[in-house]
Structures are given as structure tokens and as C-alpha cells.
Amino acid sequence: VNVTPTAEDEQFRLEARAWLTSVMPEVWGADEMPRALTEEEEYAMRRRYDQALHRDGWAGLTWKREYGGRGGTLTQYLIFAEESAAAGAPEVLNRGGIGVMGPALADCASEEQKRRYLPKILSSQEIWCQGFSEPNAGSDLAGLTTSAVEVDGGWTIHGQKIWTTLGQISDFCFLLARTSQEERKHRGLTMLIVPMRQPEITTRPIRQLIGDQEFSEVFFDGAFVPRENVVGEIGEGWHVALVTLGHERSTHFINRQIRLRREVAELLELIRANADRLPARLVDEIVDIAVRTEALGWTVKSHIARLGSGGAPGAPDSASKVFWSDVWQALTVLALEVEAELGFSVDIPNHAEPDWTLRYLGSRAATIYAGTSEIQKNIIGDRGLGLPR
């Protein structure tokens, strides 16, 4: 056990901090944190950020250099995430492509595919979405029915996907489709790279309860996928999907877990400034949340250390996904209580900065997306604890 950062890592932190500080005005298009943006404005802003990251060599910190990455370590990735949160940097626009599907391609795709797709994911020239969930295959992902039928030169796709983040602006879909009917439903699935810009694909945005439309339903009515767009082996799509989900639940999630620290600090500031007007119970609750956030921070470091030394994503990562979402939800509940005691309005937007009402509502999704808490606990029970299924 060694928890002391190296001099190189501290140096990297200073460089990252300096760059982030210098680039934020360009990204936000103003000196200060932004007013509420429209969806289009937000996408444009995040795309600017992606481009700035790519231009200055900060994109794909852990990606290999030959695919446009920086060739750095997972520890640097963590440091950059910490500094990004501290600087108030936005999420990258192509976050699924950069954080989840790109790394899955790096693990499972052919050399040709990697050279073709990875650099453009990293520069956000090509936005990617993930075509896994279906209306009748959510937690039971392996029950999906979207089909890929072999035709001359490739595959034809029929079916429907849902909860497809950024589906409406994506150039490619990482599609898990059924290529043969097998008794065991995990078999017979294949991962395909589907070009989204074709008339046989319709995307319909889904309005979320917080009002925005980041998700889509995607309908495939005979869309065509060239033969060379199979990732991994035909019939081995479940494996590629698990690799993808592993990245989503481990390294990708770390960004959000790190951001929690900043939000805790924001609420602490509000409570500190008004401690004499708040019931002691609320002050105590922020102590518990701060303790748990600290524990999460070290646990994230432990994941980085484990993954960096060749460990595979697994039960510990699922544990932190659940832990993080619970703490985040508790934080937003507490924040609303604090705001209520202080006489803040709950209107949306409530013109308070940060907008805790929006965060409270938004955090409801955290225990659902990327594998619900219930599914994570199944994973922990089955794989971490070896309990019978």
C-alpha cells in the first residue's frame, strides 16, 4: 500500500491545472461560469471543449499515441479528472465515444478499425452512441431482439433501441444485435458499427423529466452495415458488450465520482455561511456526506491502481457506482432541505447557482443508468461474493 503521489504526478497536475485555467474562457465563451444554455448551445460549447482538448494534446490521456492519444497513465487520467472538476470544465461532448466505446474498440476491434475510427472519436469529428438497451431489454440486456440479417456485402438491421444518449447527433452507433437464434440468449449476439446517417434510421428524442433531450429512441428499418463493421467475432457480441460496460462502470465513471467532490464543496460553502440559521441535523448530514465522499475518493484511487496494474473491472467498480449514486442523491436531498430552510424557491430554474433543484431531479437517473443499483448488486452478489444465482 502506497498512497503518496510521485513528483512526476504532481508535476503533471500543475501542467493540467494551468492548461485548464487558460482554456476555460475559450470553452465557455465568457469569463464566468455560464448562464443556462439551450441544448444546442451546450452541445456547441462541449464540442469546443473537445476540440480544445484534442488540439492541445489532452484528449485520450490513456489512449495509445498511434491512435491520437497521449499515451499516459491511468493515474494521470485521474489527476486530469480531478483538475477538470476543480476548474469547472464541462463534460466532453463525445463522452460515450471517448470514455466507453473507444476503449472497447481498442480492446476488441481489428487494427484496421482502430486506425479508421479511434482518432476521429478522439477529435469528436465523429460522435458515437451506444445501441444496447431496447424497450423490452433493459436490465435484461441479453434478451434484446434487434436483428442483423446477413445480406450481400454486410448486414441489414431491423429493430429499436432506446435510452440512446446523443443518438440524434451521432455519426455512428455501437450496436449490439442478434445475428442468430440460439438457445442461450447471450449467444448469437454480434457487435456492429452502424453508420447513423442513412434514411433507414430514425431517431426520436426522448424528453427527460428534467426537460432536456439527451436520449433518443432509435428505429432501424433495414439499415445497412458493411461486412467489415463487425467488431470482434460474429456471435461474440456479448463479450464485447461486457468489455464496453466494464469501461463504462470503471474508468468512465470516475469523472462523475470526482465531480461529486466539487458539489459537496459547494454545499459546504452554503452551509458554512449559514450555519447559525440551520438545524444541527443538517450540518451533521453534510459531515456524513463529506466522509463518504472522502472514502469514495480513495476508493476511486484504488480502482485506478488496480486497473492500471492490469486488473479487470468487476465488483469493486460496481460497488463504487452504487456508493457514488447514493451519496450524490443524499447530497441533493440535503441541499434542497438547506435551501428550503434558507427560504430559497424551488422553481426551475431557481436562479440560484448552482441549481440544486435541477441536480436533485437529475440525480434520480444516477441509480438507473449504466446498470441500475439492483443490477450492480446482482453483479456484486454473483461475482464479488460468489452467491448462487
Binding site: 500500500v1 502506497n2 498512497v3 503518496t4 503521489p5 493515474t75 459546504l268 452551509i271 458554512r272 450555519a275 450540518v283 451533521d284 453534510i286 459531515v287 463529506a290 466522509v291 463518504r292 472522502e294 472514502a295 469514495l296 480513495w298 476508493t299 484511487k301 484504488s302 485506478i304 491502481a305 488496480r306 496494474s309 465488483a315 469493486p316 460497488a319 463504487s320 452504487v322 456508493f323 439492483e374 450492480q376 448488486k377 446482482n378 456484486i380 452478489g381 454473483d382 464479488g384 461474493l385 460468489g386 452467491l387 448462487p388 444465482r389
Partner: protein
């Protein structure tokens, strides 16, 4: 950065765990003496991992000492090893008579009693000690007191268990592995064996909390492991109860809690002094909570058997009840965290800091 145990750490954990498991299978027999085990542990060097080699220890770190607490926690080794380790930590300074016997485990020390309510007479070397009834561990050869002295820091003063003027009234401790009592000293002879500064004294207080937290994590892991084994074995409705989500998810909840508490506790004890001071109060608070909730889950998931004397789950629950007050109460650590977070009014800050020691 690494949270995995290195080869030396793994070896310590395994060796300590094996010896403890072999000598003390998970059962606590009231009235049994554990002196033989303590002497063996001492001979094997378990009490001196973080003690400088020049003083007869192994010259490793506090984290290594924490691994002993972790392994002892896993096996629920009966006390007073924790208090003994802390006393050794306090007395690991040059020129202390009797440190060898403590390291050997042939003389057992009670905890460092912080700021006892009383006086030490004739402070030059030794004198008569008077204290009001104070809760201490029993089954020890000596007690250790830290009398604050304005000019000299803290006077570490030992009083022999058999000293004239010492009266110990046994309590019925809820924790079956630890006997405690109320000690009154009415002019018992004490010996000032060392003087240490406030800084060092504070480090010892943090070490005590860190070791207790390590023990809590080790015990929590053991509770989870045993409960998982039970859930795999016990069948109802024709299948193991661990296959039911209601059971599986509660076990997963325990796993999630332990996973995060352990990393915080490891980080607290493996950090440098500055960071340790920030982390230990948080680590102790979380470890207290996790140990208690996981022993509660264990009793629940064992069903009726969980509520019997025969099922070891209660031993852990009772141990959790005691450890959460050692070396200080949750309230004290909570206030320390509040202070760190800037949630305490300034005028109370100093008082709160002092309280931890």
C-alpha cells in the same frame, strides 16, 4: 499509488492471521487466560512492527502495525492487544524501562488513559497518583496515564496493576473479549517513564484510532465472509437463501460499505502525518458505522440462529459496540471532522482539537 498489499504486507497479514486462527478459533471463553497467546505473539514480533529497531522493534511503519490490528480483527482476538499496541506506540521513545517486556508480550499494558482526572505527585521521577474512577481494561499488568504538564508536555506514567492504593471494580463489559473495570487510584505509586510533547501525544492518539479502525475493517470483512458462507449453505424453499435478491442485495450493501471504508482506513494509516490527521477522524467514524451495520445485517441474515449465543455474530456486534468508543467517542471524531470542514465556530476550534487527544 497502490492499495494492494505488497509482499511484505501480505506476509505480515497472513502470518498474524494464521497464528491467531490456529490458537484462538472464533470463540471466547469467559475466564480463560490468553497470556500464552500474547507471549507467542510477542515472540513473533507482532507488537513491535512500527517500533524502531534501536528500541527492539522491526522498524516498519504504523500501517504495518495496522495490519496486525486488521488480522486480529478478522479473528476477533480477545483483548487487550489494541490498548497494548497503543501503549507501546506511546512508549516507543528512548530510555523507557520495560519496553522490552511489553514487546515480548510478557507484560501487558492497558490503554494510554488520556488526561486522567487526577494528579501525579512528585513529578520528578515518580510519586503517588490519585485519580477518580476511570474506565480501563482489566487483565493487564500495568496502566498507563498521560498527565499533561505545562512545562514538560505529557508525563507518561505507569502504575502496576497490583499497586497498593489501586482498586479496580470489574464491570460487565458487553464485549466478551475485553474485560473492563473502573479504576480508582488513591495514592498508588506511579512511575513517570517518559515525557513526550503534545505533537507526539497527538500522533499516538491518531495511531490508536487508526488501529481501532483497522480492527473494525478486519472484523467487518470476517462478518461478511461468514454470513456469505451461511447464505450459500442454508436452504429454504429448496434453494440457498443467498440466491434470493432480498438476501443477496443486503450482502452486496455490506460489501459496498466495507469496500469504501477499507480504502479510507488504509489511506488514513498509510498517509504522512499531515494527511493522517485529516483522514483518521473520518476513517474512524466510517469504520464504526460500517462495523455496526454489517454486524446487524449478519444477525438478521442468519435468521433465528443469528439471535442465539451459539452463532458468533453477536460477538462481533458486541465488539463493535465497544470499539466505537475507543479511543474516543464518535462525537469527538465528528466534531474533529466538522472543525476540518470549517463548520465549527472559531472560538471552539482549539478546545475541540484538544479533545481528540
Amino acid at each position: 499509488m497502490s492499495f494492494a498489499l505488497d509482499p511484505t504486507e501480505t506476509e505480515i497479514l497472513e502470518t498474524v492471521g494464521e497464528v491467531a486462527a490456529k490458537r484462538l478459533p472464533l470463540s471466547i471463553e469467559p475466564g480463560r487466560s490468553y497470556r500464552e497467546f500474547y507471549a507467542e505473539a510477542g515472540e513473533l514480533g507482532f507488537f513491535g512492527l512500527n517500533v524502531p529497531e534501536s528500541l527492539g522493534g522491526l522498524g516498519l511503519t504504523d500501517f504495518h502495525a495496522g495490519l496486525v490490528a486488521y488480522a486480529f480483527g478478522r479473528e476477533l482476538v480477545p483483548g487487550p492487544w489494541l490498548e497494548h499496541l497503543v501503549a507501546i506506540g506511546a512508549l516507543s521513545v528512548d530510555g523507557v524501562d520495560g519496553l522490552d517486556a511489553l514487546l515480548a508480550g510478557t507484560t501487558l499494558s492497558g490503554e494510554l488513559v488520556s488526561r486522567p482526572q487526577g494528579v501525579v505527585g512528585g513529578v520528578e521521577v515518580s510519586g503517588d497518583v490519585e485519580i477518580a474512577p476511570t474506565r480501563v481494561v482489566a487483565d493487564v499488568d500495568q496502566w498507563l496515564f498521560g498527565f499533561p504538564d505545562e512545562a514538560r508536555g505529557f508525563l507518561l506514567t505507569t502504575v502496576d496493576a497490583g499497586a497498593a492504593g489501586a482498586s479496580l471494580v470489574d464491570e460487565t463489559s458487553v464485549d466478551l473479549g475485553w474485560r473492563t473495570g473502573l479504576l480508582t487510584l488513591g495514592g498508588a505509586r506511579g512511575t513517570v517513564v517518559a515525557e513526550i510533547g503534545a505533537e507526539r501525544y497527538r500522533e499516538v492518539a491518531l495511531l490508536a484510532a487508526g488501529l481501532a479502525a483497522m480492527s473494525e475493517i478486519g472484523s467487518s470483512e470476517r462478518v461478511l465472509q461468514d454470513t456469505v458462507a451461511f447464505a450459500k449453505d442454508r436452504e429454504q424453499f429448496g434453494q440457498p437463501i443467498g440466491s434470493f435478491q432480498a438476501v443477496k442485495h443486503r450482502l452486496a450493501d455490506v460489501y459496498i460499505e466495507i469496500e469504501h471504508a477499507r480504502n479510507l482506513v488504509f489511506a488514513a494509516l498509510a498517509s504522512d502525518d499531515h494527511e493522517r490527521e485529516r483522514l483518521v477522524p473520518m476513517a474512524k467514524l466510517l469504520a464504526d458505522e460500517v462495523y455496526r451495520t454489517c454486524s446487524e445485517a449478519s444477525i438478521q441474515l442468519h435468521g433465528g440462529f443469528g439471535f442465539t449465543w451459539e452463532c458468533p455474530a453477536h460477538l462481533f456486534m458486541k465488539n463493535a459496540l465497544r470499539l466505537r468508543t475507543y479511543p474516543n467517542t464518535g462525537g469527538a471524531y465528528r466534531r474533529a471532522v466538522r472543525e476540518r470542514l470549517g463548520l465549527e465556530p472559531d472560538d471552539q476550534t482549539t478546545a475541540r482539537t484538544e479533545e481528540l487527544v
